[in-house]
């Protein structure tokens, strides 16, 4: 179909890039979600006034281009703190915080969606705060939050294309490298785009499905 100079080795190279995209995404989403839950619960428990410093810090991660966050974190950890960190580590740290900042809001929204009366009922049965959180709030909030969370995870995967600035060769960067050598921008970009699409689309659909199903009851 296409007359192309693309070799198997090049596909392996692309696959490595895709692998990097996935690894960075998975690490950041997991770490970011754990942090996000912690931040979200703290944010909810403290209320808007006491949690103001936390809100401010998290807001920063949502108000500055990810590209700048990466460059700054890179410069800060390396140049200023002189920490000997790989680009991969920096990428994961920044993306995790970025994820956490959004995730915290999702978590808070989820918790707030659990009716106060339901929680009162749990407490009045003698359940402790922790039991209430685990047995009642967590499962109910998850229903509200999961669709948005899937959207967030996919967003992080797409945004991970920016970690090239800290010398991580992920999918889009691999594609650019191959474009350099092979000069077939259109074909290569199509392959790259298709990859993102194939991962993102079904999951996004699944999120939409969950949202629809759970908003009914």
């Amino acid at each position: 179909m296409f007359d192309t100079a693309l070799t198997t080795a090049d596909f392996v190279f692309l696959a490595k890039g895709a692998g990097m995209t996935i690894v960075v995404t998975i690490i950041s989403v997991i770490a970011g979600t754990v942090l996000g839950i912690v931040f979200g619960v703290i944010r909810y428990q403290l209320g808007a006034i006491w949690a103001a410093p936390l809100i401010f810090v998290l807001d920063i991660f949502r108000s500055i281009p990810l590209l700048i966050q990466l460059v700054l974190a890179n410069a800060f950890m390396g140049t200023i703190l002189r920490l000997n960190m790989s680009g991969f580590t920096v990428a994961c740290i920044v993306l995790s915080m970025y994820t956490a900042a959004y995730c915290a809001e999702i978590v808070r929204g989820g918790i707030e969606a659990v009716p106060a009366t339901t929680r009162r009922a749990a407490r009045s049965l003698g359940m402790s705060w922790g039991q209430d959180m685990r047995e009642i709030v967590l499962p109910l909030a998850t229903r509200v939050a999961l669709p948005s969370w899937i959207g967030l995870a996919l967003g992080v995967m797409k945004d991970s294309a920016l970690v090239y600035v800290v010398q991580v060769t992920e999918l889009l960067r691999s594609t650019q490298i191959l474009i350099t050598r092979l000069q077939e921008p259109l074909l290569l970009l199509m392959i790259c785009g298709a990859f993102y699409f194939v991962i993102s689309f079904p999951l996004a659909r699944f999120g939409g499905y969950l949202e629809k199903r759970w908003s009914n009851d």
Binding site: I60, R62, S63, I64, P65, L66, L67, I68, Q69, V71, L72, A75, F76, T79, I80, L81, R82, L154, K158, D159, A161, L162, L172, I179, P185, L186, L189, C192, G193, Y196, F197, S200, F201, A204
Partner: protein
């Protein structure tokens, strides 16, 4: 540690805030370009999203397929990819766009996709009886949409639109990949190449970006308060 106030030493690194502050006017010029791109891409994005929404509602299969494809590609591929595609992808067809146009088209494409999806949600929240009421007053389908449904749809999706605007501002930073060097990120990067004061320059850019997004969200709130008094 006030930027510009002094040269601060921290660990082994000596901050040179003055150098960065001296470039502030250039960076603010960049911020203006960033805002131009963001605002234009929003205006165009909203118009396109309205058109795509009408495509979806039209019931004409090919039109709703166009809208669907647009939305799915915009939502399921990286913005950086979309912008790169607008420049080099279209470039392979001999369509040459300036960096400004490339980034504008890239972000507009993205905005339109996300907003169309938002509008769909907003439409669901407007009861059917609204259209019925308008139609029974003798308005045509277009009139009912324009005078009754559309204003309510825009109001319901005002908050998502504000978020999208913030996104658009942040996305302008991707313009560098298509040769843009007049926006805030591009200017910062050029200055960085010149002086290599990476941390100071990008920290300053970060502060400017933060300020812009805050002003925009605040402004949006004021506008909402004025526009939507019901």
């Amino acid at each position: 540690m006030l930027p510009g106030s002094c040269e601060t030493a921290m660990f082994n690194y000596t901050f040179q805030w003055k150098q960065a502050m001296a470039r502030l006017p250039q960076m603010l010029d960049g911020a203006v370009v960033t805002m131009q791109v963001a605002i234009l891409s929003m205006v165009l994005g909203i118009l396109l999203a309205i058109i795509l929404t009408m495509f979806r509602l039209s019931g004409i299969r090919i039109l709703s397929a166009v809208a669907k494809t647009w939305v799915e590609i915009a939502r399921n591929t990286p913005a950086l990819f979309q912008i790169y595609m607008a420049h080099f992808g279209l470039g392979s067809f001999g369509l040459h766009l300036s960096p400004f146009l490339s980034i504008l088209i890239g972000i507009t494409f993205n905005n339109a996709g996300y907003l169309t999806e938002n509008f769909r949600g907003a439409l669901k929240a407007i009861p059917d009886t609204q259209t019925r009421a308008a139609r029974s007053l003798g308005m045509g389908a277009a009139g009912a949409f324009r005078h009754v449904v559309l204003p309510q749809m825009l109001r319901i999706s005002f908050l998502p639109m504000t978020n999208q605007m913030v996104w658009a501002i942040l996305m302008t930073s991707l313009g560098v990949t298509v040769g843009m060097n007049t926006d805030l990120y591009g200017v910062t990067q050029d200055l960085n190449a010149l002086t290599f004061r990476t941390f100071e320059l990008f920290a300053l850019a970060a502060v400017i970006f933060y300020a812009i997004t805050k002003i925009v969200t605040l402004g949006a709130r004021l506008i909402a308060a004025r526009l939507f008094r019901y």
